[in-house]
Symmetry: C2
Amino acid sequence: MRAPYGLTILDNCLTCPVRSEHLFCNLSPQAGQRLNEIKSTAVYPKGAMLFIEGQQPRGVFVLCTGKVKLSTSSREGKTIITKISDSGDVLGLNAVVSNRPYEVTAEMMEPGQGNFIPRDSLMHMLKDHPEVAVRIAQQLSRNYFTAYEEIRTLGLTASPSEKFAKLLLSWSTKTAQSDGSAQVKLTLTHEEVAEIIGTTRETVSRLFSEFKKKQLMQLKGATLVIRSRMALEKIVQS
Amino acid sequence: MRAPYGLTILDNCLTCPVRSEHLFCNLSPQAGQRLNEIKSTAVYPKGAMLFIEGQQPRGVFVLCTGKVKLSTSSREGKTIITKISDSGDVLGLNAVVSNRPYEVTAEMMEPGQGNFIPRDSLMHMLKDHPEVAVRIAQQLSRNYFTAYEEIRTLGLTASPSEKFAKLLLSWSTKTAQSDGSAQVKLTLTHEEVAEIIGTTRETVSRLFSEFKKKQLMQLKGATLVIRSRMALEKIVQS
DNA sequence: GGGCGTGTGTGATCTGCATCACTATGGGAC
DNA sequence: GTCCCATAGTGATGCAGATCACACACGCCC
């Protein structure tokens, strides 16, 4: 099999290494088999748009490898990034289930592989396999919680520095050490960070300086080193 | 049957006048019957809390009559109102399906009746009746869209006046006349409006004056009269 | 009637952040 | 190497809206 962009291709969902607690994992053998039949796999370059806000839903994308930026924009061109998805995430599920236009734009931030499941096939499968319907309901309610977190952050968190601290904390949960330190590979530009926390590029730049001066973090090349998550938590306190 | 708070009691979901396109309506006869068996009805006074943010989910509430304020607060006491629900709405569904704590507080704004469905009963029913699982998934994805609207408003809409105009538009959709005018009964305090659009009481007060001066609306007692929805839409433009 | 509590109107001030306008840096193409 | 473009740092300015501080209006209870 061709492997464009230097990627290794995963061609069978039943043996996929990303399999774990995700939406379509650990289904009954029949459902798993059915899923494997209706999905088609593809590799996308950096910058590829899986779908665009406002389009009619064609189907869902299960991300196997790579990172995807989910964003929404106003008519005047202001953009907010609502989520950075990575492997295992299911994209476009809400639009597909409710048959409303995609509510966000999904753009590959690096080359990666995705499985596409057409809307019709999914909805049919859903009728034949009640277990999948329950799974999807659970996935949707998880999505809803994430959205609510976002609402709380946008509506209740006052200052950019609080939101920035919150972001650093969320980045560092996976790599956190027992002493509260953490290291994260920084792959976003200041502009993108600004679109996540809802501020301007300049303010993010100043936040980086400020947090470095306050010893909350330091930068070693592209690696963000966080001294103490506790200190960040004190800034957040919401 | 006793009718506290001067309310008429609805005691049978199968003959309920609110029945329409809502979540638990137009189910198969068996599912409808089952639903009617597991639900219990209750009447709540103004100010009653159906559930509180952070509590473990006990079950869902189907609102028959009355209005419910859904809100979330930060530790420092800042509150935002995320939705005002009325009859037919299903409350607490997300928490129940994902078995996570309620993400909002639900408070009766006026006396009203609600049906309660315990979590266990609902989850069992969901396994026996796949149609209900699909319905719930669709309801959840609708909720998700509403949440996303909120995110867009909070994240992309800059000024309080835009958000206020947006709010007036949403209030007046149901009563809108063909000439673009509308009348709405105003039941919220300035403080509550402030908690919806994420600003302060004083700013809301000034917005009322400003919009009245600009002939965008006027106040006749507790009735809000909107001259032209078009004019409001020009303010929003996002 | 007086007193109290909740809601409202509106001025005066203060400040955090957007905005504008630069310069600086750094990596890739050639 | 040089050029260029995307990204990043930082000062100066302005302003919208939060905050503070009142005064007033209304309903309700005794």
